[in-house]
């Protein structure tokens, strides 16, 4: 079980600032199990967003958003429905957000924080991982996780060791910040990175042992 919980609505609305048409995605796997992104929560989110003046142009449920081939096939089928959307709001774990980001050129926003993977990791260990940091930054980074995939957990862009799209630590490791810059450039959202991202709250992660603040 990958445990996630919904982010505060204010944070989500901050992500959606300047966007009108939203497409919602939920997951019938773990997110339904922990009531952060099941059918009911997606429906609730729809109403909350509509109350705040947003237009929810569609919604869909995946059986397992972490199932990469399934997601790619289904996203292909949904292409026409998703096309008019300004962005996708994803209610599930960080792995699922990254799977969807890899399957669409639309902006994806995480609607949840992943607080513990309960010991189970997803299938693509090198490619799409979640470190259970408890304070998801995938909105800022275009759906690619620097906490799990940057060797130095950097939050403000690639370090001086990024070369030829690779990490200085090992030529087999892609520089995730290179990928982030590339994706945000493609989405026309590179300006997001102009913000100086402040120090991360590690107390909600598992870094210091079992979580104590929740």
């Amino acid at each position: 079980m990958l445990i996630s919980e919904q982010k505060p609505l204010e944070e989500i609305l901050g992500y959606l600032d300047g966007e009108q048409k939203i497409f919602l995605v939920g997951c019938r796997g773990c997110a339904e199990g922990c009531k952060s992104g099941g059918e009911i929560q997606v429906e609730e989110m729809k109403h909350k967003l509509e109350e705040k003046g947003k237009t929810v142009i569609g919604q869909t449920m995946f059986d397992m958003v972490c199932d990469e081939p399934l997601v790619k096939v289904k996203m292909n089928q949904l292409k026409a429905k998703i096309e008019p959307a300004d962005s996708l709001l994803i209610l599930c774990c960080g792995v699922g957000v990254q799977t969807l980001a890899a399957a669409t050129d639309k902006v994806v926003h995480p609607g949840c924080n992943t607080i513990s993977l309960g010991g189970a990791h997803a299938e693509w260990r090198e490619a799409e991982r979640c470190l259970e940091c408890g304070d998801c930054v995938l909105d800022y980074t275009g759906g690619l996780c620097p906490v799990a995939r940057c060797s130095k957990h950097l939050l403000n862009g690639p370090c001086g060791g990024s070369q030829d799209e690779k990490c200085e630590v090992n030529p087999d490791i892609p520089c995730v910040w290179h990928l982030i810059v590339e994706r945000l450039t493609k989405l026309g959202r590179l300006d997001k990175l102009e913000e100086v991202k402040g120090p991360k709250n590690w107390s909600v992660s598992l870094i210091g042992g079992p979580p104590t603040t929740r």
Partner: protein, 306 residues
């Protein structure tokens, strides 16, 4: 003046600044620092002391800074985010300022895998840009990162690094802009061998007006041998050594290569100082401090302002 720094004074006066660099020893021997410091004395406005470069255990930067200062040089404390969390970093900032260290250069740090303790746990609680902001808030707002206030603030001149040669190139001026926004007062760049690329980067920097908001010191270094040039060309991430540089060194008799390497350094200094927005040079003659005076003399950088 934001600090008591000599480097700030030189830059504020509009003089072309020169900074040097010393690597502390892998032992408790202060003589190594004293010897190197004597070679730099009178040639530089301040000298950086590296903080466990390449992740190898060495004498701590702040301690080596004080040894060098006793030789009459102004130290710049390099601080990486690799080995200390925000608690330890802030404690050391207070300690350094209390002991009279007036310049701090903020770095993320070389990854621990490259050093002699590859099994260690990297910290990276903050990144270099966050560290800049933390020091700025301590100095200008008298506030710790958590928001608590302090009675006496650390009056330090805040430095950052910039690598115009790392990828993705299109992001590099934007990254500098973030460092300036976070509070950097001066910037020292990666060693420049590809002057054309540096010129292109500086153009982008000027287009953003960054050269008016931060003092940019161009990084330069002499090359001792053809082997060293080729090593930097192929093995050091984030370094850009054009073939022409290797060819130039290869073109002279073996016993003259190191001389040609210092000449090359002087040539690059002369080229970069002509670029609008370059406020000084940062000369990194690591483990070859003997040539610093010769290079500074040949480049017409002496005497330094007192």
């Amino acid at each position: 003046m934001k600090s008591k720094s000599n480097l700030e004074k030189v830059l504020e006066a509009g003089q072309f600044a020169v900074t040097g660099e010393i690597g502390p020893p892998t032992s408790a021997d202060p003589e190594v620092i004293r010897k190197k410091a004597k070679l730099l004395r009178g040639c530089v406005d301040a000298f950086n002391v590296t903080d466990g470069q390449t992740a190898v255990v060495r004498m701590s930067s702040w301690a080596a800074c004080l040894v060098g200062r006793d030789e009459g040089l102004e130290p710049t404390l390099q601080m990486t985010c690799r080995d200390r969390n925000r608690i330890a970093l802030q404690m050391d900032i207070l300690g350094a300022a209390a002991l009279g260290i007036n310049n701090i250069l903020c770095l993320t740090g070389d990854h621990q895998i490259f050093g002699n303790h590859p099994e260690s746990k990297g910290v990276y609680d903050l990144d270099s840009i966050q560290l800049i902001k933390v020091i700025k808030d301590m100095r200008d707002e008298k506030k710790f990162q958590c928001g608590d206030e302090m009675a006496v603030e650390p009056r330090v001149f805040i430095g950052a690094a910039a690598n115009p040669f790392a990828d993705p190139f299109d992001f590099r001026d934007l990254r500098l802009a973030k460092k300036v926004k976070a509070g950097a007062d001066f910037v020292q760049t990666q060693i420049i061998y590809n002057v054309d690329k540096f010129v292109e980067w500086m153009k982008r920097v000027r287009d953003k007006g960054l050269h008016q908001r931060v003092n940019i010191l161009a990084g330069v270094a002499p090359i001792k041998s053809v082997g060293a040039a080729r090593y930097m060309q192929s093995k050091v991430p984030g370094m850009d050594v054009p073939d022409a540089v290797v060819e130039r060194l290869r073109g002279v008799p073996k016993e003259e290569v190191s001389k040609e390497g210092t000449k090359l350094c002087v040539d690059i200094i002369n080229q970069v100082r002509e670029i609008e927005g370059v406020a000084g040079v940062h000369l990194m003659a690591i483990e070859w401090e003997e040539v610093v005076q010769e290079i500074c003399e040949a480049a017409g950088l002496l005497p330094r302002p007192s």
